[in-house]
């Protein structure tokens, strides 16, 4: 849960700082487990509504490919976020900036595309289902935007020289919260497009 990503940096920390870091890591983990339950709730509601609202209209190729592409971009951002976290923990700043930028671009593209998909809601004829579809996409996008804003802030902090191998918490928190955004979306995607 609170894996040591690199054993080197923490050697310099005091005992209290080590515990503070451990606390923050546990907090983020427990928060993720907890808050994902809201997404589970909405996913269950969507399944339930689909059960009562009759068959969904068949989606055309564009309606399938566009969300799939956005989701793949989002999955790609997991890898780039992870690379930039590893980079900053190894004090490779240039590499960090490259991958963090990729992450921001992929994430931003995902949000824009999905909001557009929502605007062209394909379920207009099914009142409740189209509403829950909108709620899910917007609810997810709100989380992505808030956490994305923090990631932009991390980028700006880093540009001013913040973070390094001994102090990468801001980056780590951003990356882990972004993973949360991705997991939440994978859950929604599975409910809305796969099953």
């Amino acid at each position: 849960m609170t894996q040591q990503i690199s054993p080197m940096p923490e050697r310099k920390l005091t005992r209290d700082e080590v515990i503070a870091l451990k606390n923050k890591r546990t907090l983020v983990t427990v928060f993720q487990i907890s808050w994902i339950m809201v997404f589970v709730c909405l996913a269950v509601v969507a399944i339930q509504i689909r059960g009562t609202s009759g068959p969904l209209p068949a989606l055309n190729a564009i309606q399938v490919i566009v969300p799939l592409g956005a989701t793949l971009a989002l999955l790609g951002s997991v890898w780039t976020a992870w690379q930039s976290l590893k980079a900053i923990q190894a004090d490779q700043r240039a590499r960090f900036f490259v991958f963090w930028r990729y992450t921001l671009v992929l994430g931003g593209a995902f949000i824009l595309v999905m909001l557009a998909v929502m605007a062209f809601n394909p379920y207009g004829d099914l009142l409740q289902y189209s509403q829950i579809f909108r709620v899910m996409v917007v609810y997810h996008a709100l989380h992505a935007l808030v956490i994305g804003a923090w990631m932009v802030q991390v980028y700006r902090n880093a540009a001013q020289g913040a973070y390094g191998s001994s102090d990468a918490w801001g980056v780590e928190a951003g990356a882990k919260l972004w993973y949360f955004v991705v997991i939440a979306w994978v859950l929604f995607y599975a409910v809305l497009y796969v099953f």
Binding site: R15, D16, E17, I19, A20, K22, N23, T26, L27, V30, F31, I33, S34, W35, I36, M37, V38, F39, V40, C41, L42, V44, V45, Q48, I49, T52, S53, L127, Q128, Q131, I132, V135, Y139
Partner: protein, 573 residues
């Protein structure tokens, strides 16, 4: 032995042991101050909820409409009564005990995230104000369960929307608090204190927090949809447009059944402390008590539909009946463990212990009526009658509230450094205990005779029982003021308690009363078994503690012989 604790930015180091009212009225990150802030806020709302209860019982004195202007006004009474009692009294009060005690019991300087802790508390007053301001906008009237379409199509006033937003805030507060407890308990135990050396109250807070972080987000999801139905024109729960009202019931109870354990598990934890300390005996079945809390937390997620037996697909009734009966097993394990704990002990019948025993006896009745309700054939007859009202008051008043009283009498000396008056405590107990019973027990009969819940007028044949209930409830309401008076009296009299008046072994007593800003004077050494009373080693430990911290009542000063009845003197430890 070192304590572990994160740095505490911004904590005020006030003069040793000095309580200043002003410290409690402003933002503070000291968990002790926050704990008191929770408790005082909760007590304030307890009085409001209690006043509403009196209004309800006054209305029900006679079969006709007496107090409420109309049915809607009556609906508003019980809606606000239930909501205030659950979300603004019991849950925050338990959070208050947790905040005050968990770091102390762990020998830590504070919670893991002091700032977050303060933030979680400060969400409560605005939420409470919002809830009450609903009065001016058409108060919420759909019951604390807010079933649509009552809470949507048939509640025009904005009060119902304000209600939903307030509950949202309170849920957020509760989740943030629980995250903090989990991190604190996981990471900040002192060396030498494994999970199975933790005081049982800490176990209870851990189980409660796990339930909160897993269940409360469901309420957040459901409330979001409810608010959208009310303000954004969606139709999730609107049957007229093909929406599904049962959807809300499922989501709500998936949160709210676990939530009933959020309300009572901390009480279970307090009871374990109180019974063991005042019976001077080791807790019977420590692991059984600790792990049964976890079992309750787990099984609690599988029983929600027992609140919907009448509207549920019939084939699902039996599975939910079985899980509901299973959940009584870990609860029963606790009951027997507590009886085993006091069995053969040198019981001090002081106020804390009396309320502990009161809890034990009344909660059992609520547990039994719970199992009766879990039986589908019975529930189909008494669902939505006064039988259910009786059941949940036996578990929530007879359980949670009596536990809170036991906790107040037990920890008041630690929090304030002064003693509560024991005679007043006993008056409080006996009046509460007896009037509680006569307020809620006859409701079983009313329910089985067929009186529905949530009605302002009723059939004349129910009048006798209802009058008994109402008169008893007035006594119950008045008896509460004995406690409030006792508190004020104690703060004025300032009869010193000393660090450890009950000669308890858990760490919150291993410091002065009230504890200094960073809780301990040095690094506290936990005794190997927090409940190892009655042993030579425990006696030595307490002697060494007294030598270091000074004497406590009753040895602190010469007490009049009256106060030193044999049962209240520390013996055999």
């Amino acid at each position: 032995m070192a304590t572990i604790s994160a740095p505490l930015p911004g904590i005020q180091v006030s003069e040793e042991g000095k309580l200043r009212i002003g410290d409690y009225l402003k933002w503070s990150v000291d968990h002790k101050i926050i704990g008191v802030q929770y408790a005082v806020t909760a007590l304030f709302f307890f009085i409001i909820g209690g006043a509403l209860a009196m209004a309800i019982r006054w209305e029900l004195l006679t079969p006709a409409l007496d107090v409420a202007a109309d049915g809607t006004a009556y609906n508003q009474f019980f809606t606000m009564h239930g909501t205030v009692m659950i979300f603004l009294w019991i849950i925050p009060m338990m959070a208050g005990f947790g905040n005050y005690l968990v770091p102390l019991m762990l020998g830590a300087k504070d919670m893991a995230f002091p700032w977050l802790n303060a933030f979680a508390f400060w969400l409560i007053p605005p939420a409470g104000v919002l809830m009450i301001l609903g009065y001016f906008a058409g108060q919420a009237q759909a019951g604390w369960t807010a079933y649509p379409p009552l809470s949507t199509m048939f509640s025009d006033g904005d009060g119902q929307t304000m209600w939903a937003i307030a509950i949202h805030l309170l849920g957020a507060s509760s989740i943030l608090g629980a995250l903090n407890f989990i991190v604190t308990i996981r990471n900040m135990r002192p060396e030498g204190m494994g999970y199975f050396q933790m005081p049982l109250f800490v176990w209870a807070m851990l189980a409660t927090s796990i339930i909160i972080v897993m269940a409360t987000p469901f309420l957040a999801g459901g409330l979001t949809l409810l608010i959208l139905d009310r303000v954004a024109g969606t139709a999730f729960f609107n049957p007229a447009q093909g929406g599904d009202v049962l959807l809300w019931q499922n989501v709500f109870w998936f949160y709210s059944h676990p939530a009933v354990y959020i309300m009572v598990l901390p009480g279970f934890g307090m009871l374990s402390e109180v019974l063991s300390v005042h019976a001077r005996k080791n807790v019977f079945g420590y692991r059984a008590i600790a792990l049964s809390s976890m079992a309750i937390a787990l099984v609690g997620f599988t029983v929600w539909a027992h609140h919907m037996f009448t509207s549920l697909t019939p084939s699902l009734r039996i599975p939910f009946m079985v899980t509901s009966m299973i959940i009584a097993v870990p609860t029963g394990i606790k009951i027997f463990s507590w009886i085993g704990t006091i069995w053969g002990g040198k019981i001090r019948f002081n106020s804390a212990m009396l309320f502990g025993l009161g809890f034990l006896s009344m909660f059992v009745i609520g547990g039994i009526s719970g199992v009766m309700l879990a039986a589908v054939p019975f529930d189909l007859h008494v669902h939505d009658t006064y039988f259910v009202v009786s059941h949940f008051h036996f578990v929530l008043y007879g359980g949670s509230v009596l536990a809170i009283y036991a906790g107040i009498y037990h920890w008041w000396p630690k929090v304030t450094g002064t003693l509560l008056n024991e005679s007043m405590g006993k008056w409080h107990f006996w009046l509460t205990y007896v009037s509680f019973f006569f307020t809620f027990f006859p409701m079983h009969l009313l329910g089985m005779l067929g009186m529905p819940r949530r009605v302002a007028v009723y059939a004349p044949e129910f009048q006798t029982l209802n009058s008994i209930v109402s008169f008893a409830s007035f006594v119950l309401g008045i008896s509460t003021f004995i406690l409030l008076y006792n508190m004020v009296y104690s703060l004025i009299k300032r009869k010193q308690a000393g660090p450890n008046p009950w000669r308890a072994l858990t760490l919150e007593w291993a410091t002065s009363s009230p504890p200094p800003a960073h809780n301990f004077h040095g690094d506290p050494v936990p005794y190997k078994n927090p409940y190892g009373y009655g042993t030579e080693a425990a006696y030595r430990y307490l002697e060494a503690q007294e030598a270091e911290l000074g004497k406590s009542w009753p040895n602190l000063e010469e007490e009049p012989a009256r106060a030193l009845k044999p049962s209240s003197s520390p013996a055999g430890d």
